[in-house]
């Protein structure tokens, strides 16, 4: 069903793109996840599995039932008197700053201070001897609310100019003039729903107070440094008093980038207050009500194009519901603008981005970080142009792809230097047999009145780097012990994506030792400080390079020791197969480590990396925000029941570029998993708020992520064997965390294609998520228009 076998190489890679050495032993191997055996045995320890300190308290937080209300008064006497309660804390009890907004977006109170701005907002916290006692106590609060009307829709927010951040504009050329002169012009709108992360492990923190106002926080976070800093600020202690440690998360997907701070801060505040360890674990419902999700977007577009479907000018208006606070919305909405082109050249382009404030939980990072939403806009445009000109949408997509030497400048004025989309499209069109299947589907649809099929091929071009340039740095710490075993630590966090094994592979490769000689350790702010979040697909790129730098520093020192011993030049010492060799002699890595120690050479080093080449003007939206681009393409074929809107995915073909893979097994897992998560976002995953602004889909009974049966039987996934990275990323690999999510867009467009087959001519109006309901209603509109 799935194939790791590569298609035969077609053309030679251009000589200008360097390859990595062909002699690698560990890097590039399909090695299992470092914790796989522990995980299948139930032995991998997540925070809730850790042995509990004997005097542990459990936290529970009272959440706002209202989307928008003023707190007139709060009587918590019954809460305090409730059995087992040890402490109750409100905004007034926070010794430091009552805010856990990320540094670039403050405005997220730990406990509401007089005003609640979303249903699910934290109002006060209770620590008790059991979770049942804490919950029972929290329910006994008497709170007098003055309920205010909530702002829930983009229309309401726009009408009231209710924004969390200033409106941004990105432009190149003269879109208005191009639109006015274009032979054809179309306007449209697409609405794209949000998405809950639905990591299987809910948010959790365990805070253990120590001496000298110290606090050790075990947090399920993608951003230990930010947890450390925000906890310190809330406790009013220096950063050095707080340690944040994260061994692994049970999934993150962006949902534990900024959102973990609130959970950690509440646990730490209650721990500091009681001087007892406090665990705060959200159950699924509270997690989904209380913590942020993917932004939903509304995209209005106005496009001018020629008779071949080539875009001449385009105007986009992006509006997203950011919820009640800024959080990471600046960068997320920026990234939506950066990906409004996807893989297409837009000669004259104007993009306006509104960041709407609504009375909902603050929308946050989610795999793709605005990029997927931006792409959904331009892909809707491609589809509309094709329907208008009665062309195959693939034809229109191919005609608009970026060029190699011309038509290669993005709306933010960055030259696309590494464009491989035309080759990947050609290869996938051939291997997926697109043309033949397109004909067969047309014939099928002629024969069948009630079930219709559709097919679509869509590209992904995704910019790799944090667009906030400062964040593109990383540190690592490597120790070699005198028995030759190695301990590795870096600032990246493991959430299942395989970062730890990839970075360990890099270190093993540098020392020429087997992977099992490298011990992977928990991420902690004690070992590597001031780190960036594990986000933006950057984990391997940044931490791999930092760990490589640390390993090389030690290796160079060891090489000098060996050179003296061997009587050769340090540059002639080779580390391979557990040995150092040079001058015709060899010794084991362990023996060399012992020797180095005996001659007083340090076997420990930090390593540091900062991504080169990046510069960006955030006000003009010009520059080079990305080190390189990752590419991919997918073809999906669906079958739709026109009486109910139900559908099934018949076949999927994926070709994805990871440069030269660090670990093809791990990368394949990211590609397949990303695709299915993207498909879920655009199909069955629907967030539904009631008229009072309460989320009503806050558990898996009502919020439907893909299940096993949603995966097609015919699922052909290939890592692009010709993939290279022209930039000097770690071992010439490419980032793979986020880009595959957007491969799921082909499913949405295959559904549009099937809907199109239900009528003749005109446009398809289908928003996301394309639930059976939206599909059926789109079919009805299509049939009624015909």
């Amino acid at each position: 069903m799935n194939i790791l076998t590569p298609p035969a190489a077609e053309n030679e890679t251009p000589a200008s793109v360097p390859l990595r050495a062909a002699t690698l032993r560990v890097v590039g191997q399909p090695i299992e996840h470092d914790s796989a055996r522990k995980q299948v045995g139930g032995e991998a320890v997540y925070i809730d599995d850790m042995p509990e300190p004997c005097d542990l308290l459990h936290a529970f937080v009272h959440l706002s039932p209202h989307a928008h209300a003023r707190i007139r008064s709060m009587d918590l006497s019954a809460v305090r008197a409730s059995p087992g309660v040890v402490a109750v804390m409100t905004a007034a009890d926070v010794p430091g700053v009552n805010d856990v907004g990320p540094s670039r977006g403050p405005g997220d109170p730990i406990f509401a201070d007089g005003l609640v701005e979303y249903a699910g907002q934290s109002i006060f916290g209770v620590a008790a001897d059991s979770i049942a006692h804490a919950r029972l106590a929290a329910e006994r609060a008497v709170i007098d609310f003055e309920v205010l009307p909530p702002v829930m829709t983009i229309d309401e927010a726009m009408a009231q100019e209710n924004f969390v951040l200033p409106t941004q504009t990105m432009r190149r050329g003269d879109a208005a003039a191009a639109l006015a002169e274009a032979a054809h012009r179309l306007r449209g709108r697409i609405e794209i729903g949000g998405q809950d992360h639905f990591y299987l492990e809910g948010q959790i923190a365990l805070a253990v107070p120590g001496e000298d106002n110290g606090m050790h926080v075990y947090s399920s976070t993608q951003h230990p440094t930010e947890v450390q800093h925000l906890v310190a600020r809330a406790l009013k202690v220096p950063d050095h008093a707080v340690v944040c440690e994260t061994r692994r998360m049970g999934g993150g997907f962006g949902g534990k980038e900024s959102q973990a701070s609130l959970i950690a801060a509440i646990a730490a505040l209650l721990a500091a207050r009681t001087r007892r360890p406090v665990k705060y674990r959200l159950d699924r419902d509270d997690d989904m009500k209380m913590t942020g999700k993917r932004h939903d977007f509304r995209i209005d577009w106005d496009v001018g194009f020629d008779g071949d479907g080539r875009i001449e000018g385009i105007d986009f208006v992006l509006a997203s519901r950011c919820g009640y606070s800024a959080d990471l919305s600046a960068a997320i909405n920026d990234r939506a603008m950066f990906h409004a082109d996807n893989a297409y050249y837009l000669p004259h382009v104007n993009i306006v981005s509104y960041r709407c404030k609504t009375n909902m939980v603050s929308a946050t990072a989610f795999r793709g970080f605005g990029g997927p939403q931006g792409m959904m806009g331009i892909e809707a445009v491609m589809d509309a142009i094709a329907r208008h000109l009665r062309l195959d949408p693939l034809t229109v997509r191919r005609r608009n792809l970026y060029g190699k030497t011309d038509r290669n400048v993005t709306p933010y004025h960055m030259v696309v230097e590494d464009n491989v989309m035309p080759e990947m499209f050609a290869e996938l069109a051939r291997t997926s047999d697109y043309a033949r299947r397109r004909r067969e589907i047309a014939a099928f649809n002629t024969r069948n009145d009630w079930v219709k099929r559709g097919i679509a091929m869509t590209p992904v071009k995704f910019g790799i780097s944090f667009t906030f340039t400062q964040m593109n740095q990383a540190g690592a710490l490597v120790h070699v012990y005198t028995d030759g075993s190695v301990q590795l630590n870096h600032g990246g966090t493991e959430m299942g994506q395989g970062l730890f094994v990839k970075v360990a592979q890099v270190v093993a490769e540098e020392f020429g030792i087997p992977l099992d000689r490298v011990k992977i350790t928990a991420t902690t702010t004690e070992k590597v400080p001031n780190t960036s979040p594990t986000a933006a697909s950057s984990g391997s790129d940044l931490n791999g390079k930092a760990a490589q730098a640390a390993a090389r520093t030690i290796r160079d020192r060891m090489a000098r020791v060996a050179a003296k011993e061997f009587g050769c030049a340090p540059g002639d010492v080779v580390f391979r197969d557990g040995q150092a060799r040079g001058g015709g002699r060899a010794m084991t890595f362990a023996a060399l480590a012992k020797l180095a120690h005996s001659v007083r050479v340090s076997l420990s080093s930090t390593g540091y990396y900062a991504t080169p080449k990046l510069h960006y003007d955030t006000t003009m939206h010009r520059g080079r925000p990305f080190f390189y681009f990752a590419y991919g393409a997918s073809v999906s074929e669906v079958e739709v029941d026109t009486l109910t809107g139900e559908y099934r995915l018949r076949r999927v073909d994926i070709l994805h570029d990871v440069g030269q893979s660090l670990n093809p097994a791990i990368d394949l897992g990211q590609i397949e998993g990303g695709f299915v998560q993207g498909m879920g976002w655009l199909t069955s995953e629907e967030l539904w708020w009631d008229s009072a602004g309460r989320l009503r889909t806050h558990a898996p009974s009502t919020y439907k992520i893909p299940a096993v049966g949603d995966v097609p039987e015919d699922f052909r996934v290939s890592i692009w064997q010709r993939g290279r990275n022209r930039e000097n990323a770690i071992y010439r690999s490419k980032a793979v965390g986020e880009p595959p999510l957007m491969l799921g867009i082909s499913v949405f467009h295959a559904l549009r294609d099937a809907v199109a087959a239900c009528g003749t001519g005109g446009q398809v109006e289908l928003d996301a998520p394309a639930t059976p309901e939206r599909v059926l209603m789109a079919i009805a509109r299509r049939q009624e228009a015909a």
Binding site: G42, A44, V45, G250, L643, T644, P706, V708
Partner: protein, 487 residues
């Protein structure tokens, strides 16, 4: 009378007393038993992270079934073997074949869902039938994974579960069964702890007495809904009467032209008999909840619970089922259509309970279909569920019965639509006219599952689909093909 729960935890006999009988197995495992391999993902039986396996003695040895520990109350362990992910490695630490396959196929990324998948795979392994894709889907639909996209897990399932079970559990099945029989006795279980009185009678007469004595008691069958009252609504259940130990209460048998489904029969217990007579009903049943849920949930509970979105009531309405109700020694029979009075309100009197469901076997020439429409194909709650039973005579509708779920506050028959069709030719024109009647007959709600407009449109279209299926040639695709026949 016994007040101690006795079971095997792996190989070890355990006894539990003085613990609340509504404590969940998951809480007990992660708390008192200090076995934290089993995870909580949702506490409502929808994600499968808590999946464990319950073993029961059978004639041939052991039957191991996957269940959700998060909504399973402790007394359900009595007389059974509980296996968790910690029990699977061999004595030498070697991985079990299903664990090994998960590693080899890279089926575990973040790992939080993994113990649940491993246990579902363990149950599938012991089913001993090389699963095709549909069977694998059915075994795994109750386990959500957010990382892998499932393909590697499916590959692991096909590789590890392809042969005759040959692990140490299979080797010692007879011995385990004997040990379980040694724990068994005919005594009712009665536990009073932490403010909960729990009674598990062993005969129908004992059950009838208990219900009469405690008319306000919660009657517990599989607990796939009652479990959530505790884990989600944090309700206290002062008195619980469990039916799962009542002899013959789960019996499914054909007699006198009816299929009699004991109120304690789980979906899986009843599936084979349903399949024989109404393949479409069986197809739909396989989509109710998940394997874990169907291993515990009962059709009787689905009926007595009277949820407007339960999936078996529409079928039972269309099939003209009779419900056997019992109060003390007195039995009465009620047509299913007269059972549902209002939102979660039934015709059950105080002290009365559902004893069995009697479904008339299909008459010659009768056609039955049931359609479940939901956002997700598997393990989802219906937006609309429509069941149709038709008898034609000379091209005219001799009789038609239509039952709907999701269209009203109760599972409801479409009597006006039926009347509009009865006695008339079974033609597209008459069906189209009846679709308009159907629109007038129901005023569905808008909620998170579907809008009122969608529900109304789908309900009409399901009638059309039924007409198409009964009148079109087999070559005409009217609904999406089943997994086996999907290309």
């Amino acid at each position: 009378m016994r007040d101690t729960i006795r079971f095997l935890l792996g190989d070890e006999v355990r006894s539990i007393s003085s613990v609340s009988p509504t404590r969940t197995v998951l809480e007990w495992l992660r708390g008192e038993a200090r076995a934290r391999g089993t995870k909580e993902g949702c506490a409502e039986g929808d994600c499968g992270a808590c999946t464990v396996v319950l073993g029961e003695a059978s004639d041939e040895g052991m039957v191991w079934r996957a269940v959700n520990a998060c909504i399973l109350f402790l007394p359900a362990l009595d007389g059974r073997q509980l296996l968790t992910v910690e029990h699977l490695r061999g004595a030498d630490g070697a991985l079990h074949p299903v664990q090994q396959a998960m590693v080899a196929h890279h089926g575990s990324q973040c790992g939080f869902c993994t113990p649940g998948f491993v246990m579902s795979l363990f149950a599938l392994y012991h089913a001993g039938t090389a699963p095709n894709r549909r069977a694998a889907n059915e075994a795994l639909a109750g386990n959500l994974c957010r990382c892998t996209g499932y393909r590697p897990i499916l590959d692991a399932a096909r590789e590890a579960c392809a042969g005759v079970p040959a692990d140490r559990f299979a080797a010692s099945a007879l011995e385990i069964a004997a040990r379980l029989r040694g724990l068994a006795d005919p005594e009712p279980l009665e536990i009073v702890a932490e403010g909960v009185r729990f009674v598990a009678p062993r005969t129908v007469a004992q059950l009838a007495d208990a219900v009469l004595a405690h008319p306000d008691a919660t009657i517990l069958a599989g607990g796939t809904d009652v479990g959530l009252w505790v884990t989600k609504q944090h309700r206290a259940l002062p008195t619980v009467i469990a039916v799962e130990r009542v002899a013959d209460f789960a019996r499914v048998e054909e007699r006198g032209g009816v299929l009699r489904i004991g109120a304690g029969a789980t979906y899986e217990d009843a599936l084979a008999a349903i399949e024989r007579h109404w393949p479409d009903f069986a197809r739909m049943t396989r989509r109710i909840g998940s394997r874990q849920i169907r291993n515990r949930g009962t059709i009787g509970g689905n009926v007595a619970n009277a949820s407007p979105i339960g999936d078996t009531p529409p079928a039972l309405l269309a099939l003209d089922a009779t419900l056997v109700l019992r109060r003390g020694a007195a039995q009465r029979r009620l047509p299913a259509a007269e059972f549902f009075l209002g939102y979660r309100k039934t015709a059950l009197a105080a002290g009365e309970f559902l004893e069995a469901i009697e479904v008339p076997l299909p008459a010659a020439g009768e056609t039955f279909a049931i359609y479940k429409v939901s956002k997700r194909f598997e393990q989802d709650i219906s937006a609309v569920c429509g069941a149709f039973r038709l008898r034609l005579h000379d091209g005219n509708v001799a009789d038609i019965r239509i039952g709907f779920g999701g269209m009203a506050a109760i599972p409801k028959r479409a009597t006006a639509t039926e009347a509009a069709l009865r006695g008339r030719p079974w033609t597209r024109e008459n069906v189209t006219a009846a679709m308009a009647v159907l629109s007038d007959e129901f005023a569905p709600l808008t909620d998170m599952r579907a809008s009122a407009a969608y529900r109304a449109r789908v309900a009409r279209n399901l009638l059309l689909r039924f007409w198409l299926e009964t009148t079109s040639s087999a070559a005409t695709l009217v609904r999406l093909p089943e997994w086996e026949s999907a290309a």
